[in-house]
């Protein structure tokens, strides 16, 4: 018998038991739904982190800390060199000026800039309230999304980039209206005696307003100033304190992205720990992969359950159609073809379930994507990404699983004795 004819007959006998076929398919559809969604979530998640990392970090930049001398359990022993950047269980020596000079001398290193993060007191503007602010360093290689204004190249020392929230808080009528205006940043000198506190006001011109983006962590809360400006603020605030010029983190620029790994190795040899952009991406992706594996596990469990459903349905089908099978065998249908007929029916069930489940998953994903993006503030990023190839693989895989489930009933059908089957009494 031709494959095409068997396929048609298989589809026809399924149509004759519509409710049963549909219910059995739905069981496998649940699995298909879960698996398709978890694959989409995994792909979307990786895609998202990829974009985050490329939007916020520079592939030519390494983030460097000093490698802790020894790892130990329990509280850390006090030593004179123990930096301010330590707590009872975690401690690492800070990077000092000598460290920075050492790193600077390494091959392929363009520049080393310590992480200044000046702890300013507040930001304000004439006639407005005072607001707490966190300053970060502007990097020309990191993609920013501007609501108004824009910066090409580096910021100059008296320029600042605000976020939309600060624009509103500081009483500007619109993002565009803020461009070119000035804001005041006030900082305390920490080394000044308590009895005679000392503080200074620094004035900045607004060059740009960064808009909320699903990708950028920095743009959401930090105000950006140039590296040298950050250093200037840092120097004013911290000069004379114990932790002055001790840094937890430094950003190392290398000549090109492919040199990042070799610089990382060179740094490790000198006693520094470096993280490249891909290291960060890898760490986040591991987390996503674990989550995805858990979801896939649930999907696999649903598929396993549906396998028993298929076996059951097909067994009942064989029993119900004993006479039909007997007749087909009497008419000369070979055992192999009878078996195939039932395996193909199982395949149809798998295909139907896979298509229904995956289809619903795609629809559900496309419908809920805007809501998810809104709920998590992701802007125009979609967290569920459907890859046609993986959806296809899911459906084909489920067809194969169903055929596997159909083997036992198919064997029963193919072994049926036609004489017994056609006995009328």
């Amino acid at each position: 018998m031709k494959i095409q004819d068997i396929t048609k007959r298989a589809a026809r006998s399924l149509r004759q038991a519509k409710a049963r076929t549909l219910l059995t398919s739905l069981a496998i559809g649940v699995g298909a739904f879960t698996i398709t969604l978890s694959l989409a979530a995994g792909a979307g998640g990786r895609n998202y982190t990829d974009q985050i990392v490329s939007a916020n970090t520079d592939v030519r930049e390494l983030s460097v800390t000093k490698t802790p001398a020894t790892k130990q359990d329990g509280p850390q022993k006090y030593s004179e060199t123990t930096a301010s950047v330590s707590n009872a269980l975690f401690s690492t020596d800070p990077l000092t000026q000598t460290d920075i000079a050492t790193i600077q001398k390494l091959d392929n290193v363009v520049s080393v800039s310590p992480n200044y993060n000046p702890q300013v007191k507040y930001i304000t503007r004439a006639g407005q309230d005072k607001y707490v602010a966190t300053l970060s360093t502007f990097s020309p290689s990191v993609t920013l999304k501007y609501a108004a204004g824009s910066v090409t190249g580096d910021l100059s020392d008296h320029d600042i980039i605000l976020t939309e929230e600060y624009v509103t808080a500081l009483g500007f009528s619109s993002d565009q209206a803020a461009i070119g205006k000035t804001v005041d940043i006030v900082a305390d000198k920490l080394s000044a005696p308590l009895t005679a506190p000392e503080s200074q006001t620094f004035t900045y011109t607004i060059r740009g307003v960064s808009s909320k983006s699903g990708l950028a962590f920095r743009a959401q809360s930090s105000l950006l100033v140039s590296n040298s400006s950050a250093k200037m603020l840092y120097d004013y605030i911290n000069a004379g304190t114990r932790s002055y010029n001790n840094f937890l983190l430094a950003a190392v620029q290398v000549t090109s992205a492919d040199k990042a790994e070799s610089v990382k190795t060179a740094l490790a040899a000198k006693g520094y720990t470096a993280q490249t952009a891909s290291d960060i991406l890898g760490a986040i992706n591991t987390f996503i992969n674990v989550l995805q594996a858990i979801l896939l596990g649930f999907g696999a469990l649903a598929v396993l359950t549906s396998v028993f459903g298929i076996v059951n349905t097909q067994y009942i089908s064989v029993l119900e159609r004993t006479q039909q099978i007997g007749l087909m065998k009497a008419l000369g249908m070979s055992r192999r073809d009878v078996g195939r007929l039932f395996k193909f029916e199982a395949a149809w069930i798998g295909f139907l379930g896979g298509a229904i489940g995956a289809g619903l998953a795609v629809i559900a994903g496309l419908v809920s994507n805007p809501f998810i993006s809104k709920a998590f503030d992701l802007g125009d990023i979609s967290l569920l990404v459907f890859n046609p190839v993986s959806v296809g693989i899911v459906i084909v895989g489920l067809i194969l699983v169903s055929v596997g489930a159909g083997i036992m009933p198919a064997r029963k059908a193919s072994k049926l004795d036609p004489i017994e089957a056609l006995r009328t009494e």
């Binding site: 018998m1 031709k2 008419l331 000369g332 249908m333």
Partner: protein, 235 residues
């Protein structure tokens, strides 16, 4: 020519052993109409199953067209049946949910007949039993007599050499039964196919060229055949 030689079929084991067929031997010439007559349980159905290769007796030969079908492999017997034999049953065994066309098309699909020829053959067979207008109807909507005519169409669609009919009119009233009988004998005469009818209806049996009487698994009598033909080449 169909030669049945020393066929013995035993069911059960040892003390419970029961001989459904006991050393049956006869020969049927091509194109004959044959009635196998006997009470229920006499072994007449078993004989039909053996002659069609569905059942496998312990001893004996069934030679059709010079080939012992009992010695063929399962696959070969299946293929032999699909090309050269067909069946009509008392309870029709048509597929009620399928259309008449699909019911009749089944033997052609099994015999791997190309799609291009199939359509015409099915229509011819349906026309022969006067059901062409029901081509697209579901088989379940047919009356009892129409169902058996559909079964006849399915049986003749692939031009079989041997047509087995197991109590073909058992479930029909006398008028519709006669229509089916006429169809069967008509096919038998027109195509020169061998018609083998298993029945306990003496009227139907009387219409056949040869009557083979079976009782308790033994050949009781053969009427209509010369003794020489009946015993084949034993004499």
């Amino acid at each position: 020519m169909i030669e049945v030689k020393h066929v013995t079929r035993t069911y059960g084991k040892k003390q419970n052993a029961f001989k459904a067929l006991d050393d049956i031997t006869f020969t049927i010439p091509d194109g004959a109409s044959v009635a196998i007559i006997g009470k229920s349980g006499s072994g007449k159905s078993t004989l039909m199953h053996t002659m069609s290769g569905l059942d496998h007796p312990e001893v004996g030969e069934v030679i059709i067209d010079g080939e012992d079908i009992l010695k063929l492999k399962q696959k070969e017997v299946d293929s032999f049946r699909s090309r050269k034999m067909s069946f009509i049953f008392q309870s029709f065994f048509i597929q009620p949910n399928e259309t008449c066309f699909d019911n009749v098309s089944l033997p052609l699909e099994i015999a791997n007949v190309p799609l291009s020829v199939r359509h015409e053959k099915v229509e011819q067979a349906l026309a022969a039993v006067e059901l062409l207008d029901k081509k697209k109807s579901r088989a379940r909507d047919l009356s009892g007599g129409q169902k058996q005519r559909l079964a006849v169409a399915r049986a003749i669609v692939n031009d079989p050499q041997v047509l087995f009919a197991d109590e073909p009119t058992g479930n029909l009233d006398s008028v519709t039964g006669e229509v089916v009988e006429d169809l069967l004998f008509g096919y038998n005469k027109q195509h020169g196919a061998t018609l083998i009818i298993v029945t306990h209806d003496p009227d139907l049996a009387a219409k056949c060229d040869i009557q083979i009487q079976i009782k308790d698994g033994n050949l009781e009598s053969i009427i209509g055949l010369t003794p020489q033909a009946a015993l084949g080449d034993q004499l």
